[in-house]
Symmetry: C2
Amino acid sequence: MSDHTLDAAIALSPTGEHTSLGRTSPAYANMIGPFGGITAAQALNAVLQHPQLLGEPIALTVNFAAALADGEFEVTARPARTNRSTQHWIIEMRQGEGTVLTATAVTAVRRETWSPPDLPMPEVASAQDVPFPKGSGRVEWIKRYEMRFMEGGAPSNWDGSDLGHSRTRVWMRDNPPRALDFASLTSISDVFFPRIWLRRSRLVPIGTVSMTVYFHASAAELAAIGTGYLLGQAEAQGFHNGYLDQKAQLWSEAGKLVATAHQIMYYKE
Amino acid sequence: MSDHTLDAAIALSPTGEHTSLGRTSPAYANMIGPFGGITAAQALNAVLQHPQLLGEPIALTVNFAAALADGEFEVTARPARTNRSTQHWIIEMRQGEGTVLTATAVTAVRRETWSPPDLPMPEVASAQDVPFPKGSGRVEWIKRYEMRFMEGGAPSNWDGSDLGHSRTRVWMRDNPPRALDFASLTSISDVFFPRIWLRRSRLVPIGTVSMTVYFHASAAELAAIGTGYLLGQAEAQGFHNGYLDQKAQLWSEAGKLVATAHQIMYYKE
């Protein structure tokens, strides 16, 4: 383990066969409670460090049941079913008597198969040629990421005008850089700012309710990407009476699709 | 409740505060075990008929841990957290001592908000103008759906050629028709045949591992769609060492996006 801020943030201390203690990280603080991506990474980490783990993550769904209070939480990760090459996990995070997160994960031992490049990476400028905007972080966790926007950055005028679409394209990585792994990939899958802020040029109250990440790379493939950038693309599909969804894709600089992610988010007004 | 086959298939008998008994339906039999869509609808139904239910479904994730054996299963649906307007559910389905499905759901009381049409429905022929292919069902559950393919139907030549994409566009509804609700919408979100069969013109062994459905309509809006068709669009994003993902959108004939769905599927070879 490195001494990167992310590693400190996701560290868990085992307290029982399936339980561990963790702690929210001020370095990833959001407006209310921590950044959801780091909470998702903490939930996944309870699986990753479980002694009974089989294989590597294939799918993770986290449901944010309540904003975490600053401080300790308990996380339970239970292997509900272990097959020959797949394993199914139920995860729950609690503070005091209250459940603050529910989640499921699937891990698996992969085998080499036909694996074509299916979804080509958009043609964009290389990361080095896209400027890195300095010092605009409204909340602490933003400073933990380097984001170089090519399309759909935060509105410069919050004037309530309808952009008509909600697509973002951004080169991104941990700040300072850190070698990619499943935990950091999970967290960075949630960095896209709310699609409704982009679409409406308006800061309405929001909160992610559920997020799913599908992993399309092995631990070794992520390690090979190292501290390289990821191209993130995110876009809403539907906004309906208080809930919007977001689809996202993440590619390596070499054009390999490493993850697809989806989330549904609450919004007010 | 109607006497439609789907209603009989998803019927559950409560046996405790959070537990019910259900039974696999021969009408929805797949090659091994039942059609995953009907299993997902059964899992959701454990939430829908729970006396403590708050609101309507917003998000559902089901993980298929093992093929169900024909016969009875027990399903547990526990409200892990109930907030003012949202509720978080953990669901588990068992046969004997073994977990066959894990799931989470979020339900919520919606309020009217800004709700623009975000993702326009593709321009396609109307359902009545697209022929309904008769009697090609390889397995029983296929007969429970009317599917009128406009693009990406099952390959006519299973010759192993690479189609280069995996997109399907299909008008679909229950067969015989049944008024749309959350259970039937969940089930029909899984009818898209495996993207790898389409892409590779080849019947490789497959199985859905995890599926997520986001609902973009209320019970009243679904009821208003009634027995109308849904336009389903599905496409893979990545195929990598044994697992592929699929994104899908479902619109009403009037062009309203009613659900977005994603799944990750195991494949061999």
